[in-house]
Symmetry: D2
Subunit: 263 residues, 4 copies
């Protein structure tokens, strides 16, 4: 990311509950993705577009992904409807360097499970209880502008054990009124892509309208934005005559020179 070019964010939304449940529609009349996008647009360094499950290729064509620096992902009841081919495409872009922000029930999204390699399970309760998110590293860019903690008055509870690989960094841990705790903000790097999981965001509460939540998402979009150079991964054969040190071929071979490996 150059400081002079904007960050291109694509906000992906499942966009199903908003059309089925009045409770959700009343809070997010234009869809949750629109609310998430509106929050991100408060940062003038960011260009935001949205994409939804219902669009062709779920709105995530090769062209869109190639022009996306950061993808945010909210899904819940329709994880199973996301085509595997699109998931693979998103994964490839993350490994190349695209940042990914996975939100709330996205813990069970195909793309998150695929990048983590674990169950991504947790415990949960829908009681509209108070959540208090503590900052584990106040110096981290994702926590910029926050105090020691912030509260969300009504949220779904997610509790440990959270079935994830050890995060690279723990940014937030939540305290729940009902007695549980959860690793609510965590980062990983896969390939050259930065991943941030952020817990809050149940569809029946106005979480994405809250200032602190919008601040975290704006901070996170800047932080997961690509910082290196694009790297298209492959599995190249290095012919013996191109070895850095001179060698003589010995023993048998199953491949012809320069041939692609098995996958």
């Amino acid at each position: 990311m150059s400081c002079h070019s904007p960050i291109n964010v694509t906000v992906w939304g499942e966009n199903v509950h908003e059309h089925k449940h009045e409770a959700v529609r009343s809070i997010y009349p234009d869809g949750m993705h629109s609310a998430i996008a509106a929050g991100l647009r408060e940062d003038s360094a960011v260009n935001v577009r949205t994409a939804t499950l219902q669009e062709p290729e779920h709105g995530l064509t090769d062209e869109v992904l190639a022009a996306t620096d950061v993808l945010t992902w909210w899904g819940h009841c329709a994880h199973g409807d996301v085509q595997d081919e699109i998931v693979e495409r998103v994964q490839k872009r993350v490994l190349e360097g695209m940042g990914l922000i996975v939100l709330h029930s996205g813990h069970y999204a195909k793309i998150f499970k695929r990048l983590m390699g674990t169950s991504c399970s947790l415990t949960w309760r829908e009681a509209g209880e108070k959540e208090r998110l503590w900052v584990c590293n106040p110096g981290h860019p994702i926590a910029k502008g926050l105090g020691n903690y912030f509260e969300i008055p009504h949220e779904e509870m997610y509790g440990e054990p959270f079935g994830i690989p050890t995060p690279d960094e723990q940014i937030f841990i939540s305290w729940f009124q009902g007695g549980e705790v959860f690793r609510s903000g965590a980062t990983w790097k896969r390939g050259n892509g930065k991943i941030f999981y952020f817990r809050p965001g149940h569809e029946t509460y106005p979480t994405y309208h809250q200032a602190e939540v919008k601040l975290v998402l704006k901070n996170a979009a800047r932080w997961v934005a690509p910082e290196g150079q694009p790297w298209i991964d492959s599995c190249p054969n290095v012919p013996a005559e191109q070895a850095p040190e001179p060698i003589t071929v010995q023993g048998g071979s199953l491949h012809n020179p320069g041939e692609a490996g098995f996958r």
Copy 2:
């Protein structure tokens, strides 16, 4: 693992090259899996069985996996023939605690890519050159009985970049005669399962007959063996009336009490 009960190891082999290529058959007349199993059987604390791609369910039925403490995986040209359902089954057992040793070209096996979440790619050359494996932590159980390094006279070259998440521990790094280096032995934990990737083992060389390679595999089988208790992961709902702290339900809900979450 109790010290009184044996470790049950299942050696999985693709078992294809051995039947197609005389070069492979002459080195491994009973199949590569048989040679790998023979090496492991030198450890009297280990019970070894084998399973191959060609068997029903690739020899990896629920019963076999439930009775397996450690699974070793060698595949190459037929990664694509492994059924996704079996891969998912193996992954589930790893997350529960089964140890997994991934060998050589298994870097591209579906199970390894699924557990890593990355490309798992590398560079390669088939020239029968010398490989020298250096020990990065001489105190690690997997390196027990080795000196500072050991050599394999003829091997395929694998070179960096190796498309993996940062390992929990780096056990071996290889020096190749042709000038490359590679992270040849590395560990990760996913769920409660320990994973060890070990680079050597190209099918056209007698690598699995070499004493140091057999020693590493014996050490690794003991190290990745389950050390905790089985944990069957799920995503349980905690009804509000069972919250550790008393709470009153507030706000809307999409779920009925005790209902399973969306996947």
Copy 3:
């Protein structure tokens, strides 16, 4: 560790508050170290001795440390009285493979700060409030025999941010009645030694008499016990004529052959 030889644990105690404060003495009449040792002795596979600040060399002579598989450390008001030479000696043994369990206010012990390299700071409150420790990985050996969580009725509060490097594994996270959270159980490996930090254990509460706390310590002693072979680290010169590959010396040198490096 062989399964037939016992684990030798040395319980180190600062042993100061017990003599100054009636509140502490009434709970731990023989000293906190004696209570911690008594809990560990419930495991017949463990040999336990104690050592205290007031003994010559703080009870941690070369002989004692050489015969110690696992060291537990509780200190608070007298961290500054621990001699640097003894701290260095303990660190060396950890790097060689000795397990280390750091307890409660030991987060500020010289040995812990030295092994972590960070501030190890936190927030705190002494109000005798309820602490609930959640298990982040129910399959981990340290959590064996526990349910999803356990509670301590009265404890000091420690809160995030906790100034530590990212743990290798997160075992426990605490929920406090007063509203905070804390990474209460975490593991790291330094050199070949396993380290476990365990939060509970304020001197004015009977924490070390509680069954779940004793269970965690027994589990942890087994888990941090050395699993590899002793490795005495050094910084050896490899003379050019002993290089694995033949080389000719070129360019200048500041060292004589075989000479030790600068430190």
Copy 4:
């Protein structure tokens, strides 16, 4: 780091060999620190100053460190002459967010050992042999502009085992002509500071005049530059009446309200 404000780099040099050994002086007539600084000055976004062991407070006063975004550290024969007070001051700034680049024999510098917590030892040979540094993640900002590898014609050899904690990311691994390998470029985060260790740079070879080495240092200076906000760590007491949730104090206490904790 704002893109509009420059990065302030302080290049620290031990500055001893240059005055004792003609072989070193002839390559670095103005001192190694001057050559390192000259390379960094090729980046117009960087302000560079130098500091040496011989200056008062080793040139690292509170004022200098407060105005330093990135510190580079080269030392060898005089590690022991660096005052502990200055080391502590540098560590504190790293934890607050200052970037640190540790060069070559700096693996044994007090500041590096203190931040790592491990032995930081390795094997070594001074034979002027060829070193080839392979890029483990071509997409990482530190590798920007490099090919798959680059070579240094004459360098000291450093070999595994390298006594470090597992790096957050492996950037380079070296192949040596004499047969060894080494983790030559690695990153860690401690507190809010990024640390990069870079192996090359023996005083008797013109390594710091080589274009690829200068490029890596320029890339690294940008990458380790602070990206968050300053965070002055402390260990604050949270009085019971300021707890986020209302609590009643129970049980004994050794501290008075608001008092500082023991260190």
